[in-house]
Symmetry: C2
Subunit: 200 residues, 2 copies
Amino acid sequence: MNRDGVSPAGSASGGRPVRADARRNRARILEAARAVFVEQGAAASTETVAARAGVAIGTVFRHFPTKPDLLAAVVMNLWDRLVVEVDELVNEPEDVTALFGLCTRVMAIGTQNRAVFARLAETGTRVHLGDALTRLRPAVDLLLERAQRAGAVRDDLRPAELIALLAAICQEAMTDEWSEQFRQRVLTILFDGMRPTAKP
Amino acid sequence: MNRDGVSPAGSASGGRPVRADARRNRARILEAARAVFVEQGAAASTETVAARAGVAIGTVFRHFPTKPDLLAAVVMNLWDRLVVEVDELVNEPEDVTALFGLCTRVMAIGTQNRAVFARLAETGTRVHLGDALTRLRPAVDLLLERAQRAGAVRDDLRPAELIALLAAICQEAMTDEWSEQFRQRVLTILFDGMRPTAKP
DNA sequence: GAATTAAGATGAGTGAAACTCAACTTCGAA
DNA sequence: TTCGAAGTTGAGTTTCACTCATCTTAATTC
C-alpha cells in the first residue's frame, strides 16, 4: 500500500530523483480519481480515471498497482491538511486542552470531505482512517502527556486507545453523515469519558 | 438490501407462502457463503458459493441480486443470536445497569464472529453494523430509560447516540482485531462518558 | 549539446467475475 | 390430476482489473 499521498519533494528514497513527468502524472491521477469517485462512486472504472487524468490506463497502474491502492492514496491525500493543523496545536505549549482541539479538528476535516468518504463507503470501500491517524501518533503522544500532567485527562488513558476511539467515531460519522449537533453530542460523551474520574 | 437473514417463518409479506425449496436454498446459500468467505475472504466468487451450496449461480442471484446484498445478508445473520440475548436482559427489570451489559454483549458477539468480519473487512467490505443494531432500538430505548431513571446514566444521552457510538467502536474492534484487554479499556472510557457528570 | 540509459508511458490484449435471461422444472393449490 | 406461478438452471454477455512488449522521454555523462 502507498503511504504518501503526493511525494512532497521529488526523490525516491536512495536512488535518483523521480522524473518530473512522473510526479506531474501522479498528482493528476490523484485529482482525477477524487473527482471521478465523487461523481460516480468507488465503482467507477480505472479506465475512466485514466481518461480524466489524460494518461493511459497503464500509467495509473504503474503509480497505483491495485485499485485499493488508488483508493487509499486518494483518501490519504485528503488528510494531509490535518497534519499541518496539528503541528500548530503542538506549538502552543500552554494550551493544556489542545488534545480536545485535535479531536475536534479530526472530526472537522472528516466532515469537510464527507462527500468523498460517503461516496467511497457507499460502494463498499473501507477507508482505513486508522492508518491516516497513525501519522499523528507523535503529536497525540505529546498532547496527551501534556494534558495528563495538567490533570485535564485521566492518567490511565493510552494514546493507542484514544486514536482507536477517534478513528472509530470519525469513521462512523463520515459514512453515516452525522449532523453537526450529533457530532457535538457524541464528542461530549467521549470527552467526559477521557476526563479524570471524579469519584474514586 | 435485504433486512432479514433467514425469513423466520415462510411467507413473503402479502402474497402466498414462500416455496419450501426456495427457503431451503436460501438457508443453504447463506451457510455456504459464510463458510466460503471465511476460507477465501469476500473476494471469493459467487460461482464458488453456488457450488458449495449445491445450486446454480442463477439461484444465488435470485435470492441476493448483488454481491453486496449477499455479504450483507451473511453478516445480518450472524447478529441474530444477539437479539435473543438482549431479550433476556430486558426481562430483568431490577437490573439497573443492564444497559452496560448490553454493550458488553454486543462487543462479545462481534468478537466471536471476528474471523468472518475480519475476513470480509480485509477484502474491503463495509459491514453495516449500524443496520444490525437498529433492530435493537426498542430494547435500547427501554434499558436506557431505566438506567437514567435510576441515575446510573447521564440524562442527556439519547438512544441514537449510544447506538452510533457502540456501532462505531464495535466496527473498529472487529476489523482491527482488538485484544480482550484493549476492548475492556475502551469500553471503560465509553461507560465513564455515559455516567452522570460529577461536577455540574 | 549529443550520446546514453534507465525510468516512465502506452494501450491492445487477457482472464476472471458479476450479472442476465430464455428455457425448463417443481411446488402447492384446487 | 391438472394448472399456473414461483423457482431453478447454466451458457452467454459485459464489464473490469490488471499485464506486458514496445515505444518515449527526462535526466545524467563526457
